[in-house]
């Protein structure tokens, strides 16, 4: 087990599946689906094994896999004393407490979405190839320990997503796909620039051994963190004139804000959210499961990993801003969710609202806040996946998800209605279900830092109840319309992912230690970093 490159296996099994699919004739729908399902189930099993094998104590970064990948020698004319001078990107995968749950979440939601995609109507082959490609990209994003690799995987997710939305979506799908691509493209562009600046300054390392002097640019995030925080002699920390590698505070702020915007688009932070509304309404529901369940998390993940952990002092100073943005997200999303007439839009805005909780947890800058943010990520991933799974199944039967047109479905589809109710309850943060833990921890954290902000944000809890109940009850309660009286309840293939997701939602809600244990090391490491950064400000 130790020798097995588990992460590579997880990340590239879907890709392998996609390659296999290339050789399957496109008429073989059943075969294609089976292969795709297997290609998502294997990573799920492996991810579960990974989760089990992860050691909660000790070095939080585990399962490291590192191979030299791209190494570009650079011109060292005029630098005679230098032995070698290069630019290196490594194939560098690992997981820590932060990425581990997200890797598992990805595996889980992808497998469920693959099941839910069974009722895609056209071009299964291309669909699943895109789907599997997307999954590989998502795994990579959460595992990559190198900026370049991260960027690569991040981009890999965009392309299949574009096609998945653009080809298999609803009426306005092309517009949605374009909007998705443009927004995320801009985000990626900004992220790329920020990364390049980081690599070009922080990533510059001079290694001196006996008689060799090696200069290198590296995208390794551990190297970068080392240069930033542990090595006072690193070029980046030396404020000498004409040191092109020094990062002034202004510079750090610039990069931090760039990262905030780049990942803020993905997260999405108000006012960069409009693109995701379209994707939520226009993409096929199984893809929205992925989108809302995982892709949005990539934004938060990136924000934590690169924005907060690379620039803790700046993030700390911006904490109030983050907190206020979080509250705006929560309340703005919730208030809009209350007035939507389309259930998918209700859910879209509720996603915005929930992502605000993540921001709030981040802004708290203490262990509970950070932990809350991670909990909220995982839990929202599960819940929104479940909700969109239901939306897909309901839409398949009723051809609409307009709140006004539906009603009383509890009569004809009691099972799905029950699940919908559970999902809704989880979404509004009912204790005993996963949504509560994240909300609780994030608010606990924020309350320790900015009481007023947290108190205002807590209004969102009420609003969440309002919009969730409004949405769920309009669909399931009330008198039933005649045309929906005969629709059938969930088939087995739909029920399995529903029950699985509910099970995980319950598990997290009832016994959150499952998630909090592996998190501890990482979170306390982060906390120390943040505190030392805070001390830095004070001093």
């Amino acid at each position: 087990m130790d020798k097995l490159p588990l992460l590579t296996l997880i990340a590239f099994t879907p890709l392998l599946g996609a390659l296999v699919l290339l050789f399957v004739p496109k008429q073989q729908g059943r075969l294609i689906k089976t292969i795709a399902l297997i290609a998502t189930l294997i990573p799920l099993v492996l991810a579960a094994a990974l989760y089990a094998a992860y050691q909660a104590s000790g070095d939080p970064v585990q399962f490291k896999e590192m191979y030299s990948w791209i190494k570009i020698p650079l011109n060292k004319e005029g630098l005679e004393q230098i032995t070698s001078f290069f630019f290196e990107f490594k194939y560098n995968l690992a997981v820590d407490g932060l990425s581990l749950p997200l890797v598992f979440l990805t595996a889980l939601v992808s497998a469920m979405a693959a099941l839910a995609s069974f009722h895609i109507k056209k071009r299964w082959k291309t669909f699943y190839i895109c789907f599997l490609l997307l999954e590989t990209g998502m795994f990579g994003v959460f595992m990559a320990q190198d900026l370049f690799l991260f960027f690569l995987f991040f981009e890999i997710t965009l392309v299949p997503m574009f096609f998945l939305v653009g080809i298999w979506g609803y009426l306005d799908r092309e517009k949605a796909a374009n909007k998705f691509l443009i927004y995320n493209g801009i985000g990626s562009a900004i992220m790329l620039i920020a990364f390049l600046i980081i690599v070009a300054t922080v990533g510059f390392t001079m290694t001196q051994t006996n008689n060799e002097v090696i200069l290198s640019y590296s995208g390794d995030i551990h190297q970068i963190a080392h240069n930033l925080f542990q090595d006072p002699n690193a070029f980046v920390n030396q404020a000498k004139p004409n040191n092109p590698f020094f990062m002034s505070d202004t510079m750090k702020w610039t990069v931090f804000l760039m990262l905030l915007v780049a990942f803020g688009i993905k997260l999405p932070i108000f006012p960069f959210h409009t693109w995701m509304l379209r994707v939520h309404t226009e993409a096929p529901p199984s893809i929205v499961m992925i989108h809302s369940g995982i892709l949005l998390k990539m934004g938060a993940y990136g924000l934590i990993r690169f924005g907060v952990l690379f620039f803790p002092a700046q993030a700390k100073e911006a904490a109030l801003l983050l907190g206020i943005l979080g509250v705006i997200n929560i309340l703005y999303g919730a208030a809009l969710a209350v007035v939507q007439r389309e259930f998918k839009l209700v859910l879209a805005y509720s996603s915005i609202s929930h992502m605000g909780v993540v921001l709030l947890g981040l802004a708290a800058f203490n262990t509970s806040g950070l932990q809350g943010a991670v909990f909220q990520l995982v839990s929202h991933g599960l819940i929104s996946a479940l909700l969109f799974l239901l939306v897909g199944s309901i839409y398949e039967r009723t051809e609409t998800t307009e709140l006004g047109a539906l009603g009383g479905l509890a009569k004809s589809i009691p099972f799905m209605s029950g699940i919908l109710l559970i999902a809704g309850m989880a979404s509004l943060g009912l204790p005993g279900l996963s949504g509560f833990i994240g909300e609780f921890l994030a608010f606990v954290g924020m309350f320790g830092t900015y009481k007023a902000v947290a108190a205002v944000g807590a209004l969102g809890i009420i609003l969440a109840a309002v919009y969730v109940l409004r949405g769920v009850l309009s669909i399931t309660f009330g008198p039933i319309a005649a045309q929906y009286a005969g629709i059938r309840d969930a088939r087995l293939v739909e029920a399995i992912p529903m029950i699985t997701l509910v099970a995980f939602i319950l598990l997290l809600g009832i016994y959150p230690s499952v998630l909090s244990e592996p998190l501890q090391q990482t979170i306390s490491g982060m906390d120390q970093l943040l505190h030392s950064a805070a001390g830095h400000i004070g001093g």
Partner: protein
């Protein structure tokens, strides 16, 4: 000091949970068995609760177990577990007993409903949550169960999901209590940060607050926030509006959840965290005044309602106000005592009302009448309940109300008079209710008959309890106060209070009798002479309408405004950006007119502008 049964207290909520799981899993296949499973589970819980109760009789130390590692927050561990105090033990008995009786009752009441097993499973879930709430070891655990009972209440109120009114009522119940829950939530967060060691355990809270380790201003904040939570659950003004609407649910539910147990959870919460309140006189005062106001406010509304269950609902709100008032006055035992007696006679009244509704298929008291002859057991038990509620000697209600009023008489005269007037109104609307329903002539031609045994058995049991339950704590017998650990309780008989409260009760009943029993005073005396007053009371002081305008429409308005903002400003800016790009493109394309000389000119102008802008600044020093 044996804790043989007490250490198994966690089993009490577990039985209903198991029943719930069985019912959910097996679903419709169970048919009739569902009800029996529920009853058996509840019976097991009840027996265990009784055993624990008796075991506790001699004890004063609490039994605590909190070793379940639930969540780690940095260096801090949040553990779960359970705690049995004397207060808990009493609550366990009340909840299991009422729940058991309601289960039995429901077997008859819900007979024939196709989702009867769903109904029972909800009740089991509720019982589990309520019992869990009672034995919670810390505030977070309590909050979790607190929310769970809220959900169960929501589910049961909306049990007849196809009725739009049920849907609305369920939604309202959930959302309004949620408002209170947010208060509790924030209070809990405050506690978390200000408690030494971040401990949320009740025992730790007790120690910290009774030893004055917490700043009083913080204590005030925490107390008020916790009280907001209690207000939501216990229907205190201004968060009372959901409770009357919740009567859309099946009647046994009204008895169990909305009269005896869940709504009392707020009172229980305040009693459980009494140390916090005692650390803050201001908060105590707030509790007392809110309670007192709610008591009289809801009692007046109760006089003008025509729905049998709504009358009882407002009565519940009013009685909960009494309890709160007692707690706020520092008379915790009196409050809990009233909770105890109220649980029995209000459950009795609701079940009686259910029996009536079952018989006549209407809830409007104006369409009933003369049922006493046809439904003897129901009428008698209902009368006992009504008398107990009205505070007539020697029924249980008298003793508990007297305890509260004595406390008020001693500490706060204003609240005493408020309580007294409320007692008068209580007696009046109960008399009105009783005479309209059971006396006089039938006003509809429904063939009412006595309900079967599953109905009447709980009624009788509860009626007995409503009679005798009061004797555990009288001015002549202060045992309960000692047992609950409240040494400040006054034990001397206050004859003034007793006489005044009895008078108020009798006066109310008398007025009810002359207006509705003998019809010697016109019923429309108020409606005729002061129609605005009648309408005001009848429309419940327009609170619902006010909330509708301010909150519901307000929120919708804000939402709409945000939506416009989202579409036109946020998205508008985005569109503006894309339009700008397209505009640049258009501008550029306009240049491409096919004329080679234009092209040349553009090149030339481009060169000139570029050169002037870039070189010019060097030569003309323009920056």
């Amino acid at each position: 000091m044996a804790n043989d049964f007490t250490s198994y207290a966690w089993l009490v909520p577990l039985f209903p949970l198991l029943a719930f799981l069985v019912l959910i899993a097996a679903g419709r296949q169970l048919r009739e068995a569902g009800a029996y499973i529920s009853i058996v589970a509840m019976l097991a819980s009840f027996v265990l609760a009784l055993l624990i109760f008796f075991e506790r009789l001699g004890h004063t130390t609490d039994y605590t177990w909190n070793q379940l590692k639930w969540l780690t927050i940095g260096d801090f561990q949040l553990n779960m577990g359970f705690e049995v105090t004397n207060l808990n033990a009493l609550m366990l008995v009340i909840v299991t007993l009422v729940s058991l009786l309601v289960n039995i009752y429901s077997k008859g009441y819900m007979h024939g409903d196709e989702r009867v097993n769903v109904f029972f499973s909800y009740i089991q879930l509720f019982s589990f949550a309520m019992l869990g709430l009672v034995i919670s070891v810390n505030v977070l655990e309590l909050y979790i169960f607190w929310e769970l009972v809220g959900v169960c209440s929501f589910l049961l109120v909306g049990f007849w999901y196809f009725k739009p009114e049920a849907r609305a009522a369920a939604k309202k119940a959930f959302i309004v209590t949620r408002v209170g829950d947010v208060g509790l939530f924030l209070g809990m967060l405050l506690l978390f940060w200000y408690m030494p060691g971040h401990s949320l355990d009740f025992s730790a809270i007790h120690n910290a607050f009774s030893q004055g380790k917490i700043d009083p201003s913080i204590a005030t904040w925490i107390a008020i926030l916790v009280f907001v939570g209690a207000m939501g659950k216990s229907g205190q003004f201004p968060l009372h509006t959901w409770l009357p609407d919740a009567m859309e649910g099946p009647t046994p539910i009204s008895a169990l959840i909305h009269a005896a147990t869940m709504v009392a959870a707020g009172v229980y919460l305040v009693a459980r965290t009494m140390d916090i309140f005692q650390a803050s006189p201001d908060a105590m005062l707030v509790v007392a005044y809110v309670g007192g106001f709610t008591a009289i406010f809801a009692a007046t509304i109760g006089t003008a309602q025509n729905d049998i269950k709504r009358v009882l609902a407002y009565s519940t709100v009013s009685q909960l106000g009494y309890m709160m008032m007692a707690l706020g006055l520092g008379a915790a035992t009196a409050g809990i005592f009233h909770l105890f007696t109220h649980a029995f006679f209000k459950a009795l009244l609701f079940l009686g009302a259910g029996s009536v509704i079952h018989a006549v298929h209407t809830q409007d008291i104006r369409e009933m009448g003369g049922l006493a002859g046809k439904m003897k057991i129901t009428a008698w038990t209902f009368a006992i309940g009504a008398l107990a509620l009205s505070g007539i000697v020697p029924l249980s209600g008298f003793w508990s109300k007297d305890a509260i009023l004595s406390a008020a008489f001693e500490h706060n005269q204003l609240l005493f008079w408020v309580g007294l007037i409320a007692a008068f109104f209580t007696a009046f609307y109960m008399a009105r209710l009783f005479f309209l329903v059971f006396a006089g002539k039938p006003r509809s031609d429904a063939h009412a008959h006595e309900s079967p045994a599953p109905f009447t058995f709980p009624l009788v049991v509860l009626a007995v309890l409503a009679v005798i339950a009061g004797f555990v704590f009288t001015p002549f017998n202060g045992w309960l106060g000692h047992w609950l650990g409240d040494h400040a309780e006054a034990e001397t008989a206050n004859w003034t209070v007793m006489i005044l409260s009895t008078l108020a009760g009798l006066l109310g009943i008398g007025l009810g009798y002359v207006m509705y029993g003998k019809n010697s005073v016109s019923r429309d005396i108020v409606a005729g002479n002061a129609p605005w007053l009648y309408t005001l009371v009848y429309r419940k002081y327009y609170i619902d309408e006010l909330y509708d305008v301010v909150f519901v429409r307000g929120l919708r308005l804000i939402g709409k405004a945000f939506e416009l903002f989202d579409i036109y400003i946020v998205d508008g800016i985005v569109r503006l950006c894309s339009a700008a790009v397209v505009g640049i493109g258009r501008l550029g394309l306009r240049l491409q007119n096919g004329q080679v000389q234009t092209y040349g000119l553009a090149t030339l102008l481009g060169l000139l502008i570029l050169a002037l802008a870039l070189a010019g600044r060097r030569f003309f020093h323009l920056g």
